[in-house]
């Protein structure tokens, strides 16, 4: 009984894309998109942002550099002629900045989805024509909807990214990759909450390109409002 040969060799099973060992990272069926940050690529299964899988990015505050983190990947997709969609973005994208970064504006669709964010994302993912879909869903997104989105994204070469608040970190999600972002000193702290592979102990600190000259503070906290107001008014007069 114990000498019965295994029907399939273990090595063959382990070679499959959807099976991974606890101590290594899974390999992905679809080619991933390099994130532009070597430290992050080393920690992501497949060596970059996944295609055909839902990615959740959990962040509470805006302006930390969260969009700049994705920008190299989005520029990559856009340069290859791919369509990008922003579903219910919290603010209006500022066209000069996106164009300067290298995103083709003609292929960047902004969808004002109202209360139908999940429906829109599902349609965009299932259409198969989009290379990147970024969505900002409402806070009360249940796991069934997430499951639907994951199924819609599967086997399509699309980078699907949902932005949620860090309050969702403890609720279960079918997304194979979940990342929490926070400010960490001058850098962006990237904590990988969930990935196909061993868990990550500590967050990565990535330096994100920031505007202006960061090393020199022009006007510090000791800034006299009364004086500036009077000079500003004088300049206007």
């Amino acid at each position: 009984m114990s000498s019965a040969p295994l029907p399939v060799a273990l090595v063959e099973v382990l070679a499959r894309g959807d099976v991974w060992c606890g101590d290594t990272l899974a390999s992905l069926a679809e080619a991933s998109i390099p994130s532009g940050h070597a430290e992050l690529d080393a920690e992501l299964p497949g060596g970059g942002w996944p295609r055909g899988n839902l990615t959740e990015i959990l962040v509470d505050r805006s302006g930390l550099g969260e969009m700049s983190l994705l920008l190299p990947a989005l520029v990559n997709l856009s340069a290859a002629g791919g369509w990008l969609a922003l579903v219910a973005p919290p603010w209006l994208p500022h066209a000069p900045a996106w164009a300067a970064a290298g995103v083709l504006l003609e292929r960047l669709v902004v969808v004002d989805a109202g209360r139908q964010v999940a429906w829109c994302v599902e349609q965009l993912l299932a259409s198969g024509g989009f290379a990147g879909v970024l969505a900002w869903p409402a806070a009360d997104l249940d796991a069934r909807v997430l499951r639907r989105l994951q199924v819609a994204a599967e086997s399509r070469p699309v980078f699907a990214c949902l932005w949620r608040s860090t309050a969702a970190a403890h609720s279960p999600s079918p997304a194979p990759l979940r990342i929490a972002l926070a400010a960490g000193g001058g850098d962006l702290s990237v904590g990988i909450l969930k990935r196909r592979g061993r868990p990550v102990a500590r967050p990565l600190f990535l330096s994100i390109p920031r505007p202006g000259r960061t090393n020199r503070v022009v006007a510090g906290p000791a800034f006299s409002p009364a004086a500036t107001r009077s000079t500003a008014l004088a300049a206007l007069a």
Partner: protein
């Protein structure tokens, strides 16, 4: 129930019977719509009023993969439009008509097979004069096959030339040219609804016949539709129009119907609808396309169809692409544009000073509290750059919705939470205008 019964008798036999008045004009219109629809199978369609349609399928057997495949497709299409159909396929038009009227529902690929089938039909052909049919019955001739046994000259004397020539045409012994149906230059078809429709969604089902006819008409004329409109006639005499705009020209019936359903889902009917009219407004020629040699994996419906569905449900203004407008005032630099899925040439996006503009812009600048240590936004803001003066804009000052004349000093600032903001100061004080996300 049989033809010629009194209405009261028929209602007695079938209490739930829906009764309608016979209208030859409507029948003719329905037949023409069906002929348009049949354009998807063959360009040679002939009307055989009152209720017959002749499709010449000899030329397109290879395209569809045999007569059986075409017949299956025709039957499926008729069932979808809820028409019940009696059919037959035969080498001559009249032979096929007689066999269909007799309920043959069979393929007769050769002339011999058809002649054998015709021989078994009864002599009471509906198109023949009743006295001729009665005379044949008096002579003891029951089947069409029996007529072939008797001398033709005598038969002509007794029942007239017409029926005998018909017989020869049906058997393929006399030429029988048909007048082909002329597909109209412009597509506009009416549909009288059998009952008043009060719910917009129910119109999708009724409209299916119209869209089926449109798709067949587009196929036979080798054209694509870009815009069509559905005119609704309400039972109070008023009318309304539902325009359907496609992101890219198409002749796909399923896609048109999906779009129609999205539009109807949002439509509130002012009054019950009595009739529909579909008009193809914007038509363009279809460019030739190659079919893939090997079966390709289904790649989804594509960008254009998806955007068009989103626009149908969310509204035209909710789905836009970005466009850059050369204006130094940040709120004027972004313009939302119509998505153009088939734009092949991209206008090169002129890259300006990279990195000094924020990715997100607030719709309206948000006033910031000012304390002793400067502007506050979730804590004191630290200014990281020198002021960048953006000013002037007198040319649209005072216009509704325009930014107007501005005079602002912009700074990049950071708060203790690590958020990078684009703030400005003008005569009114400090404002938050963008986020370096």
């Amino acid at each position: 129930m049989v033809a010629g019964q009194k209405l009261s008798t028929a209602l007695g036999l079938q209490p739930g019977l829906a009764v309608g008045e016979h209208d030859p004009v409507l029948e003719r219109k329905a037949l023409e719509s069906l002929a348009c629809w049949a354009g998807r199978f063959t360009p040679t369609v002939s009307l055989a009023p009152p209720a017959g349609l002749l499709l010449e399928i000899g030329g397109c057997l290879r395209l569809f993969g045999g007569a059986a495949a075409i017949v299956d497709a025709v039957n499926a299409g008729c069932a979808e439009q809820s028409y019940s159909v009696a059919w037959a396929a035969a080498p001559t038009p009249l032979g096929a008509r007689w066999l269909a009227q007799a309920g043959a529902r069979a393929l007769h690929p050769t002339q011999a097979a058809m002649q054998a089938a015709l021989a078994g039909l009864a002599c009471s052909v509906p198109d023949w004069p009743p006295e001729a049919v009665a005379r044949l019955a008096a002579c003891g001739l029951q089947r069409l096959g029996d007529l072939a046994q008797v001398p033709a000259a005598g038969l002509r004397r007794r029942i007239g030339n017409g029926p005998v020539d018909d017989l020869l045409r049906a058997r393929g012994e006399l030429a029988d040219p048909q007048r082909p149906f002329v597909f109209p230059e412009r597509f506009a078809r009416d549909l009288e609804l059998p009952a008043r429709v009060e719910h917009a969604e129910a119109l999708a089902f009724a409209g299916q016949r119209l869209f089926a006819a449109l798709a067949g008409w587009l196929q036979v004329r080798q054209q694509l539709v870009r815009t069509c409109s559905l005119h609704l006639t309400h039972d109070d005499g008023s009318a309304s129009v539902l325009p359907l705009r496609l992101a890219e020209a198409s002749a796909d019936e399923a896609r048109l119907l999906r779009l129609l359903r999205e539009h109807l889902g949002r439509l509130q009917l002012a009054a019950p609808v009595a009739a529909l009219r579909l008009v193809a407004d914007d038509i363009c020629a279809r460019a030739g396309a190659s079919i893939a040699l090997f079966a390709q994996p289904s790649a989804g419906e594509g960008v254009a169809a998806c955007l068009e569905r989103l626009r149908a449900r969310l509204g035209e203004d909710s789905v836009r692409t970005l466009a850059w407008q050369p204006d130094h005032r940040p709120e004027c630099a972004t313009r939302l544009a119509e998505p153009a899925a088939d734009s092949a040439a991209f206008s090169p996006s002129t890259a300006t000073d990279a990195g000094s503009r924020p990715l997100w812009l607030l719709d309206t600048p948000q006033p910031l509290a000012e304390r002793v240590d400067g502007p506050h936004w979730h804590g004191p803001l630290q200014l990281l750059t020198r002021g960048e003066r953006l000013e002037s804009g007198w040319w649209d000052g005072g216009e509704a919705g325009a930014a107007g004349d501005v005079r602002r000093d912009y700074f990049v600032a950071r708060n203790p939470q690590g958020q990078w903001a684009w703030i400005f100061r003008d005569a009114q004080g400090w404002f938050l205008h963008g986020l370096f996300a």
